[in-house]
């Protein structure tokens, strides 16, 4: 494939301009300003302009810096995993579930660990949904069990096992020192130990989750900010079909809804 070399663009194409801000633990002064310029230079920037050096308290200074980087990237060489599947409208999805599976899809979800940020998982699972898009509870084709906040990974796995769930929906919002990854890994380990890993679909979601990270953690898919319940509903259906060896082709539906892509939402 051809190379597509790109660089940051400020004023003119490929000028490499980037803006920085940071704090240094020294009082504001001409010397501090010079230190800030050196920080930028050590990052490989040229044309460094320390736009401001402000006293952020007596012992700290705050800087805004502009500079240019000379690196370039081959945009064509970047690979990001995405799943593309058909996206059905609400009624149509319920119809195809009925037709293809002849039963309800069972999903169990929770916000795990000490995390009590429920709005994300609620947005996906509860009746009301998100941004005008109905939640899974509202789909006749789904049975949606939302265990809420602060659920231990083991409790979530146990419930999924008891309900014979098709999919487990895991939400993590607190990410400080990567606690979300830790909890997510723990969950997958327990699922394996409990023997439901193979037969269940695992979805991971949250504001700092992306599809790639989710895959790395052992999940089937990852869903980030702005995810709509209908994306999730369609994905689960698609994945069940795929696992049973009959993936629906990725093409626009009769209802004219466009294809949905996991890992493609911005």
């Amino acid at each position: 494939m051809d190379k597509q070399l790109i660089r940051p663009y400020g004023d003119r194409k490929d000028d490499g301009v980037v803006q920085l801000s940071f704090v240094l633990p020294v009082p504001a002064s001409e010397k501090a300003k010079e230190a800030a310029a050196q920080v930028a230079k050590k990052l490989g920037l040229t044309h460094v302009l320390v736009a401001t050096c402000e006293p952020a308290g007596k012992d700290y200074s705050f800087f805004v810096v502009y500079g240019r980087t000379h690196m370039q990237l081959d945009y064509n060489a970047i690979e990001v995993p995405v799943v593309v599947h058909r996206k059905h409208g609400f009624d149509e999805l319920n119809e195809v579930i009925k037709r293809d599976l002849a039963r309800k899809i069972v999903v169990v979800g929770a916000c795990i660990g000490t995390d009590s940020h429920t709005t994300g998982i609620d947005a996906i699972m509860n009746m009301k949904g998100f941004a005008g898009d109905y939640g899974l509870e509202r789909y006749p084709g789904f049975r949606a069990i939302n265990m809420g906040s602060q659920v231990e990974p083991a409790a979530l796995v146990a419930r999924a096992k008891a309900e014979n769930a098709d999919a487990v929906l895991v939400s993590k919002v607190v990410t400080q020192r990567d606690v979300h990854k830790e909890d997510a890994r723990a969950l997958i380990d327990i699922a394996k130990a409990e023997g439901i890993f193979e037969k269940t679909i695992f979805l991971f979601g949250g504001p700092r989750v992306d599809h790639k990270t989710a895959l790395e953690l052992g999940f089937d898919a990852g869903f980030g900010p702005g995810t709509k319940p209908s994306d999730v509903a369609n994905y689960i259906y698609y994945r069940i079909m795929e696992r049973s060896g009959r993936p629906p082709p990725p093409q626009p539906t009769a209802h004219g809804t466009p294809d949905a892509g996991v890992g493609e939402t911005i």
Binding site: G57, D59, Y60, S149, Q150
Partner: protein, 519 residues
């Protein structure tokens, strides 16, 4: 300044309903105590240490008493008895002995019983006197300094949350130097679910720093020093929430904190703490806050980070009225009740600034004597820090224009991480700009009585009134069961900490409650 477009008769009616709802719960509160209340009693009596593996002595003792099934007489009673029966022994061992075979413990003869209680009452009075003296020192320091970085403007409130109390101190000092009036040390994510208060200085927390008495002391000392240097008093606040509401209230009082997050329902709704537990705990914690002159901040902002801020606006008002009644029942003066609300309206919509003005003015005027704590946007913050900053600036504008009391400054990086030093810098600098630029705007403008703002206020209040009618009819517990607040349903028997609720015996003894309720 702020304008209220709501009928005063409707307001009176709503207050009446909220009072009756809270009174329903108060009857329950009066009949019960909790492990946390009893631990607080012990702490008040000087039991402040920790056992070998860091477990606080107060916990070890109360656990023993509860296991022995005698907590219903009150921990103060047992401590008195234990020390009497084993003079010279250390209190933990003494309690252990008493609790080992409680059934074998003979009732004391009436006059000894009376004497024991009188002695404990004397100890309690001494403890309260010491506490009063500590608090007076804060009052004196405050009186000798300027209070509030801007006259006639909200106090600027910022959060530090590094997880490490020593980094927190660094960041708090820098913030104070830049004009912060209040420093809030945010707690570690899981702390509210701990049924004890960790001991000592701590350097590792998730999304916050553990609330411990030693951490309180360290931070207050640093701020005292900084206040003196700046000639301006810098307030300190923390959380009296979760499973240890009253204990933290005591520690805060003792270490001279100025404010506390403290809400009658927050723990129930947002931490799934049992409602009976929380109702009892909030009561005793508020008795302490009232005594110590600690401003509490209620947590109605959380309703609209969970539910939609437009749709759930009325739950904020209804809950504030309920919180007010609970606080009044705990003897708190209006001047100490800092009602919380927030600028959480979705910026993608139309007329959001108008609808925010409606809410901010209504809350301000419904509680004219109370300091209102106004929170910034958080839920609709974006990774685009420039946009988020603009959005925060609008909150600054509303805060200064409508005369809010305490303004939590929004952070442009809210959607990513706990505030960094530079985030606070940016927030403090623009808030100061807004305060300078618009300090007198509120006195200059008036809103049309038939406009979008006035209509919005009336609509929201009408909905709040309807909700309160329902709550007063069904009772608080049932209303919470129906997810009427914060979009979250809880049952009276669900949630954490129910096993720490104990029905009081007829001869339940709590010398502090006596003092606080009567003084």
């Amino acid at each position: 300044m702020a304008q209220l477009f709501v009928d005063s008769s409707k307001i009176a009616r709503a207050r009446e309903l909220a009072r009756s709802a809270a009174l329903g719960v108060q009857a329950f509160i009066d009949r019960h105590t909790t492990v946390s209340i009893e631990r607080t009693v012990l702490r008040l009596l000087g039991i402040s240490g920790a056992g070998t593996r860091g477990a606080p002595l107060a916990n070890l003792m109360v656990d023993k008493l509860r296991e022995a099934g005698v907590l219903d007489k009150g921990a103060a009673y047992w401590l008195g008895r234990a020390l009497k029966s084993a003079p010279g022994k250390d209190p933990l061992h003494a309690i252990e002995r008493v609790a080992a075979h409680p059934d074998k413990l003979p009732a004391l003869p009436p006059e000894e019983e009376t004497q024991l209680r009188e002695e404990m009452r004397a100890d309690a009075r001494a403890a309260v006197k010491e506490l009063r003296e500590r608090i007076d020192r804060r009052t004196q320091l405050k009186a000798s300094l300027k209070v509030g970085s801007f006259e006639k403007a909200p106090w600027k409130y910022v959060i530090v949350a590094t997880g490490n109390i020593y980094d927190d101190v660094e960041q708090a000092k820098a913030a104070a130097q830049l004009g912060a009036d209040v420093i809030a040390v945010i707690r570690s994510t899981a702390q509210s679910l701990l049924d004890y208060v960790p001991h000592g200085a701590t350097t590792e927390g998730f999304g916050g720093t553990y609330a411990t008495q030693e951490n309180f002391r360290i931070m207050r000392e640093a701020l005292d020093e900084e206040s003196r240097k700046l000639g301006r008093y810098v307030h300190l606040t923390n959380y009296s929430s979760g499973l240890c509401m009253p204990e933290i209230a005591f520690m805060a009082a003792y270490e001279r904190l100025d404010m506390l997050l403290n809400d009658a329902m927050y723990g129930i709704l947002f931490r799934d703490i049992n409602m009976k537990r929380t109702f009892c705990d909030q009561y005793f914690s508020r008795r302490i806050c009232g005594f110590a002159g600690i401003i509490i901040n209620t947590g109605e902002d959380n309703y609209i980070t969970t539910a939609d801020a437009d749709e759930a606006a009325h739950t904020v008002i209804a809950s504030q009225l309920v919180n007010e009644s609970f606080a009044h029942q705990a003897g708190m003066k209006d001047e100490l009740i800092g009602f919380g609300h927030s600028f959480e309206i979705d910026p993608a919509r139309e007329d959001t600034l108008l609808r925010e003005f409606a809410m901010a003015m209504m809350v301000r005027e419904l509680f004219p004597r109370s300091p209102i704590k106004y929170m910034p946007p958080t839920k609709h913050k974006e990774g685009d820090i420039f946009f988020s900053h603009a959005y925060d600036v609008m909150a600054d504008l509303v805060a200064i224009t409508t005369g809010q009391g305490i303004q939590l400054l929004g952070m442009m990086t809210e959607a990513m991480h706990n505030p960094f030093l530079m985030d606070r810098y940016v927030a403090l600098k623009s808030a100061s700009y807004l305060y300078r630029a618009a300090r007198h705007l509120g006195e200059e403008i008036s809103f049309r009585p038939d406009g979008i703002v006035a209509r919005r206020q009336r609509d929201v209040f009408d909905q709040a009134l309807r909700l309160l009618e329902e709550v007063a009819k069904d009772g608080m517990m049932a209303a919470i069961g129906k997810a009427r607040f914060g979009d979250t349903a809880r049952t009276p028997e669900g949630g954490k900490g129910l096993d720490g609720v104990v029905e009081k015996a007829p001869d339940y003894f709590n010398p502090f409650l006596e003092i606080l309720e009567n003084g």
